[in-house]
Symmetry: C2
Subunit: 361 residues, 2 copies
């Protein structure tokens, strides 16, 4: 029987091939006699798994040699504190572009460690667009410029990176659009996110950081979260989330087999165009984010008659379309169509939505 | 074919039943059509998993109602910072009992946040005993008394809890002996550890904390690691390591099926007595920790002729006895015999050691 299509915003669907391989290898990884969960993180088997995962991620994103890839814990919410603890140095502020719930949360957490400056956007929603670049107002001497490249809850995505002031490193929360398209890592000082959308299981955090930013951590930063320490120990200063790294590695291999990020982007564009195209063509459903800033990954939409919400969700579940309920702060529905969602899943969703419209319109 | 016996100190062996169930459920948990890895942490399926896991842990350890159970991230090394950030309040010091590498590391990390006081023990090894209680020297007004109930690297275990000064909460790192025996949780202010020895996969941290200790966090503590915030959000302030919680829950169910902690302790005593009994009876191998403080979980031992180490490890591996190499700071061998190690595994190890002695003695 075919598996249902799972539109969860995260933790999110994984490629079926990855899950099948994980199930097969659960009791015995490559003849080692051990589950990956049972391996010492310092043993040769797990070292091989972690080294390969890092190399594959580096290849997929074409990460330059002067950037470290770190596998950490705590997710993006922990990084909201860990980033200022590592990057502020002797500066008193950092600039934040706030385009949704997640960057608003990042701004708020930064207040524990500095006086963050709102360079663009707003601290309360609804968030429906990235503000025009000429309206950005930078502070005089920020430690970094922070943005969230894709707002998972609000469905607002940066499709181009705004220009930061010279010498100001851009820090981007890419939790929900990492690996969805090629990016130029060299334009960033630091890229981070939780793995549980486009990479693997919850509990794994990725950080890609330029070498020159490793030298400014606060003495109050916990050692386990000090980038320099984590980097110097190959992400094994503390025991890493080994099984998460293994699954992430399987996903990286899967992405390579699909043809890498150029091919993945092509598919993601096709999926997004199909869904937004239908939403634009009907009055039964609505979508609110301004067209140039619509997320390819997270598509919030609303039934015009919201009294039908429960019926929609129940019928969708019966049709094998899972986890479509919108985030409580936005309401309505949300279809998250990450890399692991095939075009056939979006086709099935659109077909279902059309049929629901026909029978309830 | 029988699986090899895996003596890893952590990440460590899991019960085979747990791995089999995880493999079977990988693509479809209980007819949900989702892997546990693919579930929203706020959905009803995962809520059920997490609620059951917490309830089972509470039952196994008989955790009183005025204690919260938190599922966090970062492991014991992160907690070495998170604990002072949460518990110091307006106090300037905390007392540490240092009986091995792990508590020494905890003491060192505390220096970032206060002036820790060495109440007993030594900051450098070798660590071979818990100091006699009359020699403990407490400071005048410590925020807490810290100890590590079982030193994974050195094999030193507290078999009785030392008496702390009145009103001083005891904080215990139980990473490597949690759930190995019944404990009286009410004697502690906070119990914590990484899951990857006796509970489940790496990347999951457990914290059991008394309610009255939730009110004193530093404003500099990252929100994701503030116990009060984590508790108020049922461990879902940030996305928890969902798959780790699921596996932990399977382990808790397995422990209940075995008869709970009284039965597990009985088995652990039998396993430890078998191995130490043999070590005491031979001159070919040595063990150094003083008898009253020998760990039931981690048994460091040495070949008298250390030039045979590589041959021993290679022959052990051929005999299906894995990950016996000692920690680099101690050397020699280490057999970690956590809950998931059956008596038959220790019998196989002792039989192998006897045979190796016979052929190399």
């Amino acid at each position: 029987m075919a598996r249902p299509y799972n539109f969860s915003a995260g933790p999110a669907a994984l490629p079926e091939e990855v899950l099948r391989q994980a199930a097969e290898e659960m009791l015995d990884w490559h003849g080692s006699g051990m589950s990956v969960m049972e391996m010492s993180h310092r043993g040769k088997e797990f070292t091989q798994i972690a080294t390969q995962a890092e190399a594959d991620l580096r290849e997929l994103l074409a990460v330059p040699a002067n950037y470290k890839i770190l596998f950490m814990q705590g997710g993006a919410i922990a990084e909201n504190a860990i980033i200022p603890l590592n990057l502020l140095g002797d500066k008193q502020t950092a600039d934040y572009v706030v385009t949704g719930s997640w960057s608003a949360k990042s701004f708020k957490e930064a207040k524990k460690y500095c006086t963050p400056h709102l360079a663009a956007g707003a601290l309360t929603g609804p968030w429906l667009a990235v503000p025009p670049e000429p309206t950005f107002s930078f502070s005089a001497d920020p430690a970094y410029l922070f943005l969230c490249s894709n707002e998972t809850i609000d469905g607002v995505e940066f499709h181009a990176l705004p220009k930061a002031p010279a010498q100001v490193p851009v820090v981007a929360d890419m939790s929900s659009n990492i690996l969805s398209r090629p990016i130029d890592v060299a334009q960033y000082g630091l890229i981070f996110g939780g793995a549980q959308k486009n990479i693997g299981p919850a509990g794994l955090t990725f950080v890609i950081v330029r070498d020159d930013l490793l030298d400014r951590a606060s003495p109050l930063c916990p050692s386990a979260f000090e980038y320099k320490t984590v980097a110097a120990n190959g992400s094994m200063y503390n025991t890493p989330p080994t099984y998460g790294i293994y699954i992430a590695g399987l996903v990286f291999q899967w992405l390579k087999r699909q043809g890498g990020l150029a091919e993945i982007e092509r598919r993601n564009i096709a999926k997004a165009e199909l869904l937004y195209g239908y939403l634009d063509a009907t009055a039964f459903y609505q979508t609110r984010v301004e067209k140039p800033f619509r997320s390819r990954m997270n598509v919030p939409f609303f039934l015009k008659d919201e009294s039908l919400n429960d019926a929609f969700l129940a019928a969708a579940k019966d049709a094998g379309l899972l986890q479509l309920k919108g985030h409580k702060s936005v309401g309505g529905m949300r279809a998250s169509i990450y890399n692991a969602m095939p075009l056939a899943g979006v086709q099935a969703l659109v077909a279902f939505m059309k049929e629901f419209e026909r029978t309830h319109g």
